[in-house]
Subunit: 485 residues, 2 copies
């Protein structure tokens, strides 16, 4: 037992420092004065240096060799510590440093290239990033480079498995897109919406979804995000005077992530089990909160009342039905983050196939733009008009996040499965949502998914919750039913 | 050169982590949700563990043994690193941990005892804290225990030297107090002052004093403080609807601390020279900003106009002269932090003499309250009415801060000297202050004091700035002239 206890005491300090690093990142986006960027970069590098040294500390290896688990929870702790230790020790520190340095630089180059619509300016450093990630994948081992990267975000799944899943979904999504866009599109909300009232409504909605403000806070940031685990889980949102939906649905999305972290068992506080099981499972929580619950006909009926109470009559929106169609408006667009439920996954699949081809050697960085534009035309039916609407739109690749995109659609697939099981267990769900009562639904998610944190592997977390295998069927059936109604 | 460069690279990371720890403390007071206290305590302990390990890392000792300074700045860096290393390695870690644990507990006991007016409930743990600090002083070495503690806050001065300085000041201060309180006291500002307007005025005043918001920010906290060095120096202030002076003068005080940190040479960023030289020198900056400049007849004339612009006619304040007397109102009171310029130092001297007697063995903890009350009556002319107005009023002793109090009055003495020299160098100062133009004065302080950071020892920093020896004469002459006018 001594080795296990010593190991956990050491890891607990590492986890605490990890929380500090996360909150320092939050501060950078939300609170930091403009002139502090240079110093902050050194502070973050110092924290990363300490964290990296602790994650591959030889004592961790010794303790892991000796420690024995007394129960399933301890076994799960050791599994997660071993995963982290193996990854940290396999990657040479010179490579880790080169990656940190190059991606930091590449992000700036990308932002400039996007502003100038200049793909050629971005490709050389993108090639460097891809090459360094290939070397990292080689150091991590395994037959397929892309799978080694994917393992950081969605352990337990291979690129081939995801490819099979996505390829089977794509034709139905393309067909649904064609059908929905052939019909009259929903009304558009118009008017001027006081940002302070938007924030007050966002807080009300966050509380309705079960977000605990005694262990969190809501601030504004350019890009909404959720941050932290355990007792201090913060979210950010944003306001645009002409688009209150952006504020409200960004908030609900981040509340989904935050409630997952807040609802993990207290027993796992500051341990490797005390955060979400994978990016995909995390995204399943944000997506089911935002879409299956938040954009449902029943819940939008309640939200319509809250909007009218706070903003008065909504211009162009006659009633609950029109409000529901406005919330779920489907229309053409280039940008993934602005896409509706019907088209979102097509954006993700495009990126997944391209990045997988990059790492298998089937696609060169120099051909990336052409491949993007060709695929976009095939799936969406019209041509990309400029690089900032195409291959330069996302920050991900510049910072080396290859293997991350598919977790967005995996999250949607998981959310579809969970929504199906939730409806079976809660026959009165629509009545509850219509009353703005999310307690039964969020309680179910807490009980079935969230409280376990990383105790179970990601796919098992979902399988246990739904009592069966993961499949894209429930998501596709839900989308068909909702958008062809 | 290699040893010096290696040492500095290591220390730079430690300094960066120290900045993170400081900002985590800021977050705790300003941003942290209530329910995160337990987790935050673990995070702070983790940071302290890492910082302590780095400060007494044996490699630092090796580098110090080999490193050679190429110039005066490098010599100063080595001096400060050696100081920190010596202190960190002399105190056994078991003692350091006992101190951290006991003071953390004692702070809670103190707060409860103060609320209950129960001195007896506080004394046992205070005895423990005193005993642990005695052991720490013994570990640090030197002939006099109190001097070893003092060295943490005001290196270069002994308790006996400070005692000589203070004993010579006290009769003049007591006499001035008697004289001023025998006269009619100034008018009192009355009314309701919108906290949002107070904060807007506070920001305007902070900017007038040269605070750089591109490298800082202003928030509210229960107890105002300044935090951070280099590119990210934040201040907090507070608002009370019936007392805008509290907000404005707390802000100016903290701006004094913050400008000191912001104006240190960029060359010293994230090095041991990149923060203030001592607590006393730090306090000299906050005090001269707040008192000699901020409460001057000339500056309050400008401030009166800004107040009337923002709040309209001030009830009970007919003109600039009445406003000046309201800002500098002298009246009886028990509380150090609420004291005016005339009486503040008497509060400090009382504490200094008592804590020095505690560490010399001339006073027992059990006799502390009686000694406090006796001394208070002698200096202030009336009796302490309850412990929260007496021996239980300050948090300092509960958290082990023995040797800290005298730096407040040292700061006032330094400020008196600096003010004297400043007036000689800037004959038009009053005209500038009357226009709200603080640039010449704050520029002088930046040039003479602030830019040097910790490059010179504390007393030398002041001596070089004033071109002579430190003395209490200028402060006492200034107080006499101001308050008997």
């Amino acid at each position: 037992m001594a080795a296990y206890d010593d190991l956990m005491a050491f890891v607990r300090v590492t986890e605490a420092l990890g929380q500090v690093a996360g909150r320092t990142g939050w501060d950078q986006e939300v609170m930091m004065p403009d002139g502090a960027a240079e110093q902050r970069a050194e502070e973050m590098a110092a924290l990363e240096q300490v964290l990296h040294a602790r994650r591959c500390d030889p004592r961790v290896g010794d303790w892991l060799a000796q420690a024995e688990a007394a129960d399933a929870v301890q076994a799960a702790q050791l599994r997660e510590i071993r995963r982290s230790y193996d990854r940290a020790t396999k990657v040479p520190s010179a490579l880790a440093e080169a990656l940190a340095r190059t991606t930091s630089k590449a992000q700036g180059v990308w932002a400039k290239a996007r502003g100038a619509q200049d793909v050629a300016a971005f490709l050389p450093i993108l090639s460097e990033v891809v090459q360094l990630r290939r070397e990292e994948a080689a150091a991590l081992g395994g037959a397929v480079a892309y799978d080694a990267l994917l393992d950081d975000y969605e352990p337990g799944l291979t690129g081939a498995e995801i490819s099979n899943l996505f390829d089977a979904m794509r034709p139905r999504l393309v067909a649904l897109r064609d059908e929905v866009l052939g019909r009259p599109i929903g009304p558009e909300l118009k008017g001027h919406f006081d940002p302070a009232i938007q924030m007050a409504l966002a807080e009300e909605v966050a509380l309705a979804f079960g977000y605990d403000l005694s262990r969190g806070r809501i601030d504004k940031a350019v890009h909404p995000f959720s941050s932290g685990s355990g007792q201090d889980v913060r979210i950010t949102t944003r306001t645009a005077v002409d688009d209150p939906f952006n504020c409200i649905y960004s908030t609900i999305h981040e509340v989904g992530h935050a409630c997952y972290e807040q609802n993990i068992s207290d027993d796992f506080l500051l341990t490797p089990l005390g955060s979400g099981a994978s990016m995909g499972v995390h995204e399943s929580q944000s997506r089911i909160y935002e879409n299956q619950l938040g954009r449902s006909r029943a819940f939008t009926g309640w939200l319509y009342g809250r909007m009218v109470d706070r903003f008065g009559t909504l211009e162009g929106i006659a009633d609950e039905g029109a409000f529901y169609r406005a919330v779920n408006r489907v229309h053409n667009g280039y940008i993934r983050t602005e896409a509706d439920e019907v088209q979102y996954n097509l954006h993700v699949m495009l990126r997944f196939d391209l990045e997988r081809a990059l790492f298998s050697g089937q696609l060169e960085v120099s051909d990336l733009e052409a491949a993007w534009n060709e695929r976009f035309k095939a799936d969406f039916g019209y041509a990309v008009d400029k690089p900032s609407n195409g291959v330069l739109q996302d920050v991900h690749w510049s910072v080396g996040l290859f293997g991350y995109f598919p977790t967005y659609t995996l999250g949607n697939v998981y959310a579809g499965c969970l929504h199906d099981a939730l409806r079976k267990d809660l026959p009165d769900l629509d009545q509850q949502l219509a009353n703005g009562d999310l307690k039964p639904a969020t309680g179910w998610l807490r009980e079935k998914v969230q409280r376990f944190g990383s105790q179970k592997p990601a796919q098992q977390t979902i399988e246990d919750a739904i009592g069966g295998a993961v499949s894209s069927g429930p998501l596709l059936d839900y989308l068909d039913a909702k958008f062809t109604a």
